[in-house]
Symmetry: C2
DNA sequence: TGTATTTGATAACAAATGTTATCGTCTGCC
DNA sequence: GGCAGACGATAACATTTGTTATCAAATACA
């Protein structure tokens, strides 16, 4: 599970084992709420198997902002870092196997890691990359039509199309399920 | 001009003066292009007086992503950091007085600053805050109607309403100038 | 296996937003 | 002072997207 990180962080074996020991493994059914709206996020999750979505309630309607799959880490980042109530809900879509670490333990690790220049730069670069990803989402939203955004998803994130129920995809694209159906229907007809 | 930063960065006077010396002052008319589309960003600008917008060309239409005013720093961040061609244009709106620093010089400063733990944390926090700001823009875009976004602007960024020509605001809100006129018109009528 | 629930498609109508065109006002500039 | 270009309002019509309702298919699960 953690081998993917092993290469990035050049640590001693002891340290590595100590860090891994902070993580806890859980298995949860689909539609399990991992973080509720208004709750302060104290756990960071890593997905071994399964699929998670992050959404918030807007006038009674779901609005999905992110999907996560295997090997990705998930939290309500702003809530996690600033200890503020989370505006979003974190919830499994499929039956999932997760590893989580408590914020206190992660903070310890990060304090130690920050003293190592190479790791510090890795961290900073990760932060920048996260910012760039958000910019990309943002630009795509104001730039592209829902149809184009759907085509982008097919191209860039086929996992979402394949594994996520369509009404969540609609909520991610910012349209109704009815309209997403229309979009798909038109695309099929154009192919004739 | 630079006193606003003086407090944040606890440096010796020598260092401070050395750093300030890297900056160059320029005065430019409105509609001056500071960075063209496709160009690699090598200058970071700080605004002493005036107003800048960042936009990109989408099928012949302007799409404005950000406005900047006095005391803010401006660059096509991703292009600046990664040395990739900028997807956006950076352009003055008003007659402006700017200070700019070359990326090479800024990198030198940052390398030195990173060795000081307090300053390193200030930097990391600035990166996080930038991410959170983008999340906020993003969420507002998928959550709120154009009318609501316009009301948010009035509330949260009155400078934009007061100083920026309306067609740029429309392009920032993601609607046509015609529709923004309609929105304003409806708001006036509701007040009766 | 059978039934309830979830998921997705479609139709008919409503509301929001874009497109094109016209006109008036303002502003910078010679 | 007058003119050209920028800016903003409005109207008429087109297109996109939302709303509500209904039905069919897939799926979960007792």
């Amino acid at each position: 599970m953690f081998d993917q990180f092993r290469n990035k962080f050049l640590l001693t074996d002891e340290k590595w084992l100590e860090y891994i020991n902070y993580f806890n493994r859980i298995e949860v059914p689909s539609k399990t709420t991992l973080l509720e709206e208004g709750e302060v996020s104290k756990k960071l999750f890593i997905i071994e198997r399964g699929c998670i979505r992050v959404w918030f309630n807007n006038n009674g309607k779901d609005l999905t902002t992110q999907f996560f799959f295997e090997n990705q880490s998930v939290a309500s980042i702003e809530s996690f870092i600033k200890k503020t109530p989370s505006p979003v809900v974190v919830e499994t879509i499929e039956v999932s196997v997760l590893w989580w670490i408590h914020k206190n333990d992660l903070d310890k690790i990060l304090e130690e890691i920050k003293e190592i220049p190479e790791l510090r730069d890795v961290l900073i670069n990760m932060l920048f990359q996260r910012t760039f990803d958000y910019m990309k989402y943002f630009v795509s939203f104001i730039k592209d039509s829902p149809t184009q955004r759907y085509l982008n998803l097919i191209e860039e994130r086929p996992q979402i199309i394949q594994r996520v129920p369509q009404h969540y995809i609609a909520s991610y694209l910012g349209v109704t399920t009815v309209h997403l159906s229309r979009i798909k229907s038109k695309l099929v007809h154009k192919k004739d």
